[in-house]
Amino acid sequence: MWRTNLKVALLGLAVIGFYTLIAHIIPQLESEVPEVLTLGADASPEALVEAGERMYNGAGACSACHGLGTRAPNLLTGGGGLGPIGSRCGERVAGTPCKDYLYESMTEPGAYVVAGFENIMPDMRRQLSIDQIWAVIAFLQAQGGEVTVTGADLAQDAAVSSGGSMPVAATPATASTDPQELLAANGCIGCHQLAGSGGAVGPSFDGIGGRMTPAQLRQSILDPGAEVAEGYDQFAGMMPATFGEQFTAAQLEAVVKFLAELR
C-alpha cells in the first residue's frame, strides 16, 4: 500500500511541477501599479514625455488597444495618412488645438469619436491622476508634434487632484441646489457624518446648527483653515479650501441654511 501511496504522491508532484514549469518558461508579464508622479511645476518637457511614455506602455495600458490591429487607431504611426498622433491631433476638430483635443480624448473619449472606430475608450480619469494624464499627453505630442504641455499644467491641477481618483472639474459637481444632494455630490459626507452615516474625518453634521451660527458655518466652508474645529487639530488642513470656487452662491446658501437647521 505504501508503494501505491508513494506513486500517487509522486505523480501528483510531477504533474503540478510540470504546470508550474510551463508557467515559468512563458514570458513573465506583471501588471504594474501606476507610479505616483512627483513632477512639479518646474518639470521639463523631456521629463514629462519620459514619464508619459512609461505610463503609456505600462500602467496606462494604452497599448492594449492602440497599436493592435483594428481595434483602436494607431497613435505611434500614421493614421490614415495624417501621421502619428502628435502631428494629427491639431487637425481632428476644427478650432481645437492639439493639447485640448488630446485632453478631451483622454477625459471625454465619447466627445469626438474617430471615424471607423467604436466608442470603447474608457475615461482615463478613473484610472490615472490628472498629472499622469498630462504626462501621457506630453508623450503623445512628442510623436511627431511639438510638446506644449508644461509643468504649469500639472501645478494648475495639483490643487484639485492627486493619487488618481476623479478630479474636480472647475464647474460645480452638480447644478442642483438641494442641500442633501450637494452634500453627497461634493463629498462632504465622505468626511462628515450625517444622520449616522458618512466618514468620521471631520466633525459630525448632526446637531451642527446648535453649535454654529450661519455666519460661522459659511466661514468654515469658504475658509476651513480660519478656525479649526475643537479636537480636530490633527485633521486641520484636510478639508478642501476649494468649495468657495465650486459652489454657486445659491448652493452655498442652501448648504449653510440646511446645516444651520440641523439642531
Binding site: A23, E32, V33
Partner: protein
C-alpha cells in the same frame, strides 16, 4: 473633494488599512485561504449534485448499487464540509485583520447578505447531517423520497450560498456603473451590488465547474480505493465508481467553454479595457498555460476510456481507430498550445505600437484555436460513443442507416468546424468572432443529435458480454489522478485570471489597492501560489479519503469480529 477623498484614503491607510503577515505577506495569506476554501466549497457544492442524481437513479431503477454510491459520495461530504467551514473562517479572519479597510467597505455594502450567508451555512450543514445519518433509517417507500428531498434541499441551500458569495466577488470585478470612488458604501444598494454585470455568468460558470470538479475528485477517490482494494468485488465497485465520476466530469466539462464565452462576453460588455487586459494584455499568456492543461485533460480522459475498452467484450473492433484519434488530439493540442507569434524584438514592438503584447494579432489565432478545441471535443465524444457501443449489438432494423446518420453528423460537424476555421483567416475580426458561434453550434448539435439517435439505435440491443468491472489495469487509475490534479490546478489558474484582471483595484475603479503588494504578479509567481494551494488542498483531501476509509472499516468490522 476628490483630493479630499484621496487624503481620507491616505489617512485611513496610515491608520491601518492593511495588516502584515510574516513570510508570504498579506496577499499571499489571503490568496491561499481563499483558494483552498474555494476548492473545498466547489467540492461540497458539486458532489451533492450527483449524490441526488445517483440516489434518484437508484430509487427509480431499484438498483442498490447506485444508492450505495450515492451514500459514499455523501460520506466524503461530511468531512469536506468541516474543512470548507474551517478555511472559510480562516479567510474571514485574515480579511478582517489584513485588509480591514477593504473589508469595512464590503461589510457596509453587503452586511445583511453576510448574515444570511452565515445562517444558510448552518441550515445547510444541518440538512447534510440529516441526509447522511438518516440514510439507513429512511430507506424505503415514502420515507426514501423524503430522504431524497433532503438531498435536493442540500443542493438548493448550497446554490443560494454560492450565489450570495458570488455577488460579493463579482461586485469587486464589475461594480454597478454608477458606483465611483466617492459613492458611500451605504448608497450602493445591496441588490444593485449583487446583481452586477458578471454575477449571473459567474453563477452559471461555477455551477457547471463545480459539477466537473466534484466528478473528478470522486473519480480520484474511486481510483485510490481501487488501487488499495483487496477483493475483486471491491475492485469492481470502485472501477465502476471511477468510471461514473469521470463520465460526469468530462460530460459537464464539455459545456464549460460555453459558459466561459458568456462570461467573457459580459466582461467585454462591462468594460472593454478589462476584457482586453484579460485576452490580449498582460494575461494573454495565461491562455497558453490553460491550453496545455486542457490538452492534458482531453488526453487523460480519452486514454482512460480507451484502456477501459479492454474490459468490454466486443470493443476490440474499435481498437484500430484509437491511434488515429490520439494523433488528432495531439495535433489539435499542439495547435492550441502554440503561441501564434514568438515575442517580437524591441524594434518590432515599436513598429507595432504595442509594448508587451506577445501576439501580433490575437484574434487571428483564435480561428485555429477554436477549431482545435472543437475537434478535441468531438473526438472525446466519439470515444464515449465507442465505449458505450462496445458490448452492444443493435437489433433494430434500421441500425445500419442509424449508424450512418450518426457518422454523417460527425462528419458534418467536423466539416463545419474546419471550414469556418479556415474561412476565419480571410475575414474581418468582427466577423470571425461570430464564426466561433457556428462552430460551437455545430458541435453541440452533433452531440445532442447523435446521443438521441444512439439511444434509439441501441434500444433492446443484444449484449456481446458484460463489462468486466474491476479488470482494469492499474495505469488507467493514474489517468484519473491526473484528471483530478489538473482540474484542481485549472481552477486555481482561472481563479487567478478572474481576480487578476482587477489589477491594482480591490473594487474595480472604486477602491484602489494601496498596499505594498498591489501589483498583480506574473504567471510564474502566480503558478507557485497556485501549486502551493493545490498541494495543500490535495493533501487535505487525501487525509479526508483516508478518514473515509477508516470510518468504513469501523462500520464493517463488527461482523467478522462477532464471528471470532
Amino acid at each position: 473633494m476628490i483630493d479630499a477623498l484621496t487624503l481620507v484614503q491616505a489617512a485611513a491607510d496610515t491608520t491601518g488599512a492593511y495588516g502584515s503577515f510574516p513570510g508570504i505577506g498579506a496577499r499571499g495569506a489571503v490568496w491561499i485561504a481563499a483558494q483552498v476554501h474555494l476548492m473545498f466549497a466547489a467540492f461540497v457544492l458539486g458532489v451533492p449534485m450527483f449524490a441526488v442524481i445517483t440516489e434518484l437513479i437508484g430509487i427509480v431503477a431499484k438498483d442498490s448499487k447506485y444508492d450505495k454510491l450515492s451514500k459514499e459520495f455523501t460520506r466524503l461530504l461530511v468531512f469536506a464540509y468541516s474543512a470548507t467551514a474551517l478555511w472559510g473562517g480562516l479567510l474571514l479572519f485574515l480579511l478582517t485583520t489584513l485588509y480591514p479597510r477593504f473589508w469595512g467597505h464590503m461589510a457596509r455594502v453587503f452586511g445583511p447578505s453576510m448574515w444570511l450567508y452565515a445562517g444558510l451555512f448552518f441550515v445547510e450543514s444541518f440538512t447534510l447531517y440529516l441526509y447522511y445519518y438518516g440514510w439507513d433509517r429512511w430507506k424505503a417507500g415514502r420515507a426514501k423520497w423524503g430522504h431524497w428531498a433532503l438531498g435536493l434541499l442540500l443542493n438548493v441551500w448550497g446554490t443560494i450560498v454560492m450565489f450570495i458569495a458570488n455577488g460579493w466577488l463579482t461586485y469587486m470585478m464589475s461594480p454597478p456603473s454608477g458606483v465611483t470612488a466617492e459613492t458611500l458604501p451605504e448608497q450602493v444598494g445591496l441588490w444593485n451590488a449583487i446583481a452586477n454585470a458578471t454575477w449571473m455568468p459567474i453563477n452559471i460558470h461555477r455551477l457547471i465547474a463545480n459539477a466537473v470538479f466534484g466528478g473528478s475528485i470522486v473519480a480520484a477517490y474511486a481510483a485510490y480505493r481501487f488501487l488499495s482494494a483487496r477483493t475483486a468485488e471491491e475492485r469492481a465497485h470502485y472501477d465502476w465508481m471511477g468510471y461514473v465520476g469521470n463520465f460526469i466530469a468530462i460530460s459537464t466539462f464539455i459545456v464549460l467553454p460555453f459558459a466561459g464565452y458568456y462570461l467573457g462576453r459580459e466582461i467585454y460588455e462591462f468594460n472593454q479595457q478589462m476584457g482586453i487586459t484579460m485576452m490580449g494584455g498582460f494575461m494573454s499568456w495565461l491562455w497558453i498555460v490553460q491550453a496545455v492543461l486542457i490538452g492534458v485533460l482531453f488526453l487523460a480522459a480519452n486514454y482512460y476510456l480507451w484502456i477501459g475498452m479492454a474490459r468490454i467484450p466486443g470493443a476490440e473492433r474499435f481498437r484500430p481507430y484509437t491511434k488515429w484519434m490520439l494523433l488528432l488530439l495531439v495535433v489539435c493540442w499542439i495547435v492550441w498550445g502554440t503561441p501564434h507569434t514568438m515575442i517580437a524584438s524591441r524594434a518590432e514592438l515599436a513598429a507595432m505600437g504595442g509594448s508587451h503584447h506577445p501576439f501580433l494579432n490575437i484574434l487571428g489565432v483564435m480561428s485555429a484555436k477554436n477549431t482545435a478545441v472543437n475537434l478535441m471535443i468531438l473526438t472525446t465524444f466519439l470515444s464515449f460513443l465507442m465505449y458505450r457501443r462496445a458490448n452492444k449489438r443493435p437489433t433494430v432494423a434500421w441500425a445500419k442507416s442509424g449508424s450512418m446518420i450518426e457518422g454523417a453528423m460527425f462528419a458534418l460537424a467536423a466539416g463545419v468546424v474546419v471550414f469556418y476555421g479556415i474561412y476565419g483567416y480571410f475575414v474581418e475580426a468582427i466577423v470571425r468572432i461570430g464564426f466561433s458561434v457556428y462552430q460551437v453550434a455545430a458541435v453541440l448539435a452533433c452531440i445532442i443529435g447523435v446521443t438521441v439517435i444512439d439511444l434509439f439505435v441501441l434500444r433492446g440491443a443484444e449484449s456481446r458480454g458484460e463489462i468486466r468491472w474491476g479488470e482494469m489495469p492499474e495505469r488507467s487509475q493514474y489517468a484519473l489522478f491526473v484528471l483530478a490534479i489538473t482540474f484542481t490546478w485549472l481552477m486555481g489558474l482561472m481563479g487567478f485570471a478572474r481576480s487578476g484582471i482587477r489589477q491594482h483595484w480591490h473594487v474595480w475603479e472604486v477602491m484602489r489597492d494601496t498596499s505594498a503588494q498591489a501589483a498583480t504578479p506574473a504567471l510564474g509567481a502566480a503558478a507557485n501560489m497556485i501549486s502551493l494551494c493545490v498541494v495543500i488542498f490535495l493533501a487535505l483531501v487525501a487525509f479526508i479519503f483516508w478518514l473515509g476509509g477508516l470510518a468504513e472499516r469501523a462500520v464493517q468490522r463488527p461482523e467478522p469480529a462477532g464471528g471470532a
